[in-house]
Symmetry: C2
Subunit: 405 residues, 2 copies
């Protein structure tokens, strides 16, 4: 039996995370039936609006430059540690928030290549998000490495067997996304990391679609290097700074190329020669972006309060409902995500030859999704803000849009 | 005769920019006698607080992901163009706001090195701000270049003659600050750019201490590449994104190393291979930091409204008063900035063997300045927010602090 709207409302009534929706700005917008793109841009926490106002008035406006020594200098590390504890499964002192995801990936891959001199290959995913592919190609070209591409099933993703087939004694590092941006496939973080290590290679994980959606245990998995974005399931705001993780054991040998004053052991000594700081400070380059960091802090706090286990449980329930409704209501639409919830992250991609047109019509009808070429429509499900009823109403509109097409 | 507080108040009464102070959050803080560090962190414009609130509620909170196509995607270029017109003396299509200054300098220097293959030297300033020195050393090491250092007078800066002595047919690029962070020395933008070009080299100008303080004419000077920060005289907020300028004629050959999806000709096509966009989009890497960009926009608007000529005139008057009062009131203190106002930017550095201790005491007494090792105390003068009376009161406190030392 196809779940009804009443069934969805019952799921909402029993949802332990339902009250979190009130912690976000969810405007009374009659034109918006459902927001299913929180995996591209999460909604604003109410607390972020208050923190930004206080930042401008007090820290920036009143304390002025003194705020740097009164707290701002440590924010990239403090927020990184809170993110590590709540979301990454990582001990303190390994995570910093700074720069864009692209810049972080560039730093990590350059550092990884330098930590494996003499190795001349990298292993990467042909289906990965564009920035990951473009950066790995650029770094490979700079460092004289050849990229060995894995070409996975578009509705799935890179498997442990794929990695085992591609790594070897020539591999400097393996770089993959933990959750695929297109299919939401969850890669085997533990197995792939171990396989890379067995070959003497490092791993650089992109966690953009994992953080705040799928539980992570970077320390237990032995992950070397990772980065990810904060404006999706962490709700940190448009273009908020990314985070960067370097395992403690690797930090002394971690040399990133963009050696700015904020990565120096003593930034305000303004010394003649660059001397990288001990620990994660060496991952920084320029002055930390404080307004963006505030958004990360508030986003992480809400995720920490909800807890990753409850978030994951609701994500599974939401994606299960989305798949069931897609199967039952959406004629001519395929499922471009794993059907096994254990292998599926926080969104469901449905496929259709006219995906671009359909996606535009859905948005015009108040169901905000996004299109991923060539034939994907992503249904993003944010456990802190998406309700089961919202999803149900969206899928009903989707069925109507299909019938009118 | 030493100018009195009444003289300073008369200057304020005649100041055509005096009313701009009301456009900023200048809290009535009895503990703060004077804020003379706007050259490190400018004060918040009131409009920025309002724009940030509207951003969270409307663009982010209500329009959500749709804001990217409704304006955010173009913000880095639109704000860059407004900055170019108001401050840089540059035609549209050459400026973009993104990343930190350090990351921008890294991109520019890598691109500059690649545009002069076969040349194996760069010319740089041993007295430049740490980030500039560390980045040029890193880029030189990566690209197989040798740095030819100029060591200027600490109370002055790099002269045209210094550059002529150091450039030659082996020079790939010359990189300097237009206004020295320590002495406020204004380098000869036109002459040095022309001298570099005469040798077949490019110039990479750091404009951090110029923008919003000293008029610039990048196009007329034939500047190739430039970057600068927005949180000083542009008042864009702590860690706000920097800007990057690439002269139109060089853009087709401009290849920066951090090739992310936002620099692609078609970011949302998510195509297989990196194809750099035409024009300034190719300078971008990751997702633009929207909260930071809003601060740049409002800061630039105020500077545009005030006009760089009036800002410069007031900066000269303020620095003249600071030098006169330092000479007359501050026993045992030297002037670490040019005495010729034509060669002096928007701050005055005074020198003293106990500069660090004095600086701490000044801040404790409510006069916020900053210390620059080894012996400098910078008196930053922001024409839009600093009054002559504020400066006068500060210098009186400074004299008291010296007498108690």
């Amino acid at each position: 039996m196809t779940p009804t709207l009443a069934d969805a409302e019952r799921l909402d009534a029993a949802d332990p995370l339902a009250s979190f929706r009130d912690r976000f700005l969810v405007p009374d917008d009659p034109g918006l039936v459902a927001y299913l793109d929180g995996n591209s841009l999460g909604r604003p926490p109410k607390a972020t609006a208050e923190r930004l106002a206080a930042l401008v008035t007090h820290d920036w406006g009143t304390r002025l430059i003194r705020s740097w020594s009164e707290g701002w200098m440590e924010l990239p590390f403090e927020i990184g540690d809170r993110l590590a504890a709540a979301v990454l499964g990582a001990e303190p002192g390994q995570t910093v928030v700074a720069d864009s995801t692209t810049v972080c990936l560039y730093k990590l891959m350059r550092a990884a290549a330098a930590m494996r001199p003499g190795r001349d290959e990298v292993v990467a995913d042909r289906g990965n998000f564009p920035t990951d592919r473009y950066v790995v190609e650029a770094v490979a070209a700079e460092c004289g490495l050849t990229v060995r591409w894995i070409s996975p099933d578009p509705a799935g993703g890179v498997t442990l067997a794929d990695v085992v087939d591609h790594v070897g004694e020539r591999t400097a590092f393996v770089t993959l996304s933990h959750v695929a941006y297109r299919s939401a496939w969850i890669a085997d973080l533990h197995g792939i990391t171990a396989a890379a290590h067995d070959a003497g290679a490092l791993v650089v994980w992109d966690l953009c679609h994992s953080v705040g959606s799928v539980p992570l245990d970077l320390d237990a998995a032995g992950v070397d290097l990772a980065a990810g974005c904060t404006y999706k399931f962490l709700n940190a705001g448009p273009g908020a700074p990314a985070f960067l993780y370097v395992a403690a054991a690797l930090q002394d040998g971690f040399a990133q190329p963009i050696t700015g004053w904020m990565g120096h052991a003593e930034p305000f000594a303004m010394g003649r020669d660059y001397a990288p700081a001990t620990g994660m400070r060496r991952a920084l380059s320029g002055t930390p972006p404080i307004t963006g960091l505030i958004g990360v802090d508030e986003g992480v706090k809400l995720v920490a309060e909800a807890g990753m286990d409850r978030i994951r449980a609701k994500a599974v329930a939401l994606t299960e409902l989305a798949v069931t409704l897609a199967d039952d209501l959406l004629d001519g639409v395929g499922i471009g995500s794993p059907r096994d919830p254990a292998r599926r992250g926080g969104h469901v991609t449905v496929t259709h030859p006219d995906a671009k047109t359909l996606s535009d019509r859905l948005i015009a009808a108040g169901v905000v999704v996004d299109h991923r070429p060539p034939d994907g429509i992503r249904i993003g499900l944010s456990p802190l803000t998406t309700s089961f009823a919202e999803l149900h109403r969206a899928m009903t509109v989707f069925a109507d849009v299909l019938q009118m097409s």
